[in-house]
Amino acid sequence: MKYSAEEMMTVVAARELRDGEIVFVGIGLPNLACNLARATHAPALVLIYESGAVGAVPERLPVSIGDPSLVTGSLMTTGMADIFQLFLQGGRIEVGFLGGAQIDKYGNINTTVVGDYAKPKVRLPGSGGAAEIATHAKRTIIISRLSTRAFPEAVDFITSPGNRGKGKSRKEWGMPGAGPVKVITDRGVLCASDVDGEMELAALYPGVVTEDVTSRVGWRLRVRESLESIAPPTAEELRLLRDVLDPGKLYLKGS
């Protein structure tokens, strides 16, 4: 069965989630991945959105993180001070999903500017809640398509902290969470080194060879000795994505 890169990324992200976990969700693929996980192995997943919805069960695919469908039927809807102070800073979030225009070898993410901050070539939206998710979630998972532009050795601006930045490790900075443990790309998965937090190629998708990944990363990517090979989406996963979860192709545009 043929499938798209987005479908594969969504499936891989869904499989990362364990039943009952508390997930801080953004819009787009992470949202779909959570829905897929809930429909398969993790029915008790708790979805939290920075907008204030806790335990959301949206009846439609939310078009923004403040979609009314996230509120209706949620377990709790509260103010943003609670979300950032009690849930995130309070250490209650187990998994956070992040993406960004640039991701570097330590998983630092830039969503602020391309170029110089004072005179940017491209002005991006900025942090939103990403800096806090990256700081406080017990672990974060980055999702991004590979390209040398998106994966420079060092990002132009660190919006969300990775495993090492500004000369110190997360531990030295005293950051609570474990940081970005994985980067799910369109060709394989990078995992953070236990030793120094650098991202290493750890798994490949079907039909992908090592060079397909290393050539699309802007630094000399470390490759683990034994690479995992990740199973393609099952027929059931694809059926759920295509027929149930995103039949209007709101997120899976390329499929």
Binding site: A44, L45, V54, G55, T78, G90
Partner: protein, 307 residues
């Protein structure tokens, strides 16, 4: 700490909840400002003979007076220790004035206690407040310090985070996973629960999750931070539960005489705490109580969550 959603029920008996989550030496919070004070939990702690507890609460109220008299407490952390609307807590006074039994105290104002819970809930080491200047309060408590604002240079009071081992919250209703809804006075229950390693939610009514999900803005405490749910109607008596029953003011008035004398207080505990097995037994000893205090219906309208 409760972690994630079990998908399974957390409903247990009060006996099991206390046995499992309240241990000798623990820092324990039973919160609720006048409203929703869980006397049922306090009584079970007394029955299970817990010792050396650090009891924290803005207003110790009658329930902590009973726990102090029963010898459960090593230390009291508080901001107003009286019988609200009546006068003194005499077991507390005997402990502080005569060391009978010995009791360490650690004292704040209400705002100071609120701030300690807020810091604990937000995982901050301290909370800043404009307070205590020109008073003897900081000199009486070495845990009240000052913090300097990095912008203005102002010196503000600072109190440290309070992170209890267990917080017990009484709520009007919750589902089996502990998603708890409270209306009327909210006190500091949200902050205390989020600050705590473990949370026990005691409810007047166990409801389907669909009831909670129908009005998510009413949820004060999410099930993901709750360890146990105890279904204990009238569990807050002589305190009250808005929409269920009124405060038993006669009881508060009578406590003045019961507690003024050590022996009569002990007789009270013997009969109404040790002398019963659980809350059902307690209620059986108060005939007519539920008729006398039951709330009349004053329902508000619902709102529209549609889109």
């Amino acid at each position: 700490m409760a972690s994630g959603a079990s998908g399974t029920s957390k409903v247990v008996s009060m006996r099991d909840a206390i046995a499992r989550f309240v241990h000798d030496g623990d820092t324990v919070v039973i919160e609720g400002f006048t409203h929703l004070i869980c006397f049922a939990a306090g009584h079970e702690i007394i029955r299970q003979k817990r010792r050396d507890l650090v009891l924290c609460r803005l207003t110790p109220d009658i329930i902590y007076d009973q726990m102090i008299a029963a010898g459960c407490a090593r230390r009291l952390v508080f901001s107003w220790a009286g019988n609200p609307g009546v006068g003194s807590l005499h077991a507390f006074r005997r402990a502080v004035e005569a060391g009978n039994p010995p009791l360490e105290i650690e004292e704040y104002s209400h705002f100071g206690m609120v701030a300690r819970f807020a810091a604990g809930a937000a995982h901050l080491p301290f909370w800043p407040l404009r307070d205590y200047n020109g008073t003897d309060i900081p000199a009486s408590n070495p845990r009240i310090l000052q913090v300097t604002c990095p912008f203005t240079g102002e010196k503000l009071a600072a109190v440290p985070a309070l992170n209890p081992d267990v917080t017990i919250v009484h709520a009007q209703r919750a589902d089996a996973e502990g998603n708890a809804q409270i209306w009327g006075l909210l006190g500091v229950q949200k902050e205390a629960a989020f600050a705590s390693k473990h949370v026990i939610v005691v409810v007047e009514e166990l409801v389907e999750t669909s009831i909670v999900r129908a009005d998510p803005n009413r949820t004060l405490i999410p099930g993901m931070i709750v360890d146990a749910v105890v279904v204990e109607p009238w569990g807050a008596h002589p305190s009250y539960s808005q929409g269920h029953y009124d405060r038993d003011n006669e009881f508060y008035l009578a406590w003045e005489n019961v507690s003024r004398d050590e022996k009569s207080l002990r007789r009270y505990l013997d009969e109404f705490v040790h002398g019963v097995e659980d809350r059902a037994g307690y209620l059986a000893k108060h005939p007519g109580l539920t008729e006398r205090l039951a709330a009349r219906a004053m329902m508000c309208e619902g709102v529209n969550y549609g889109y």
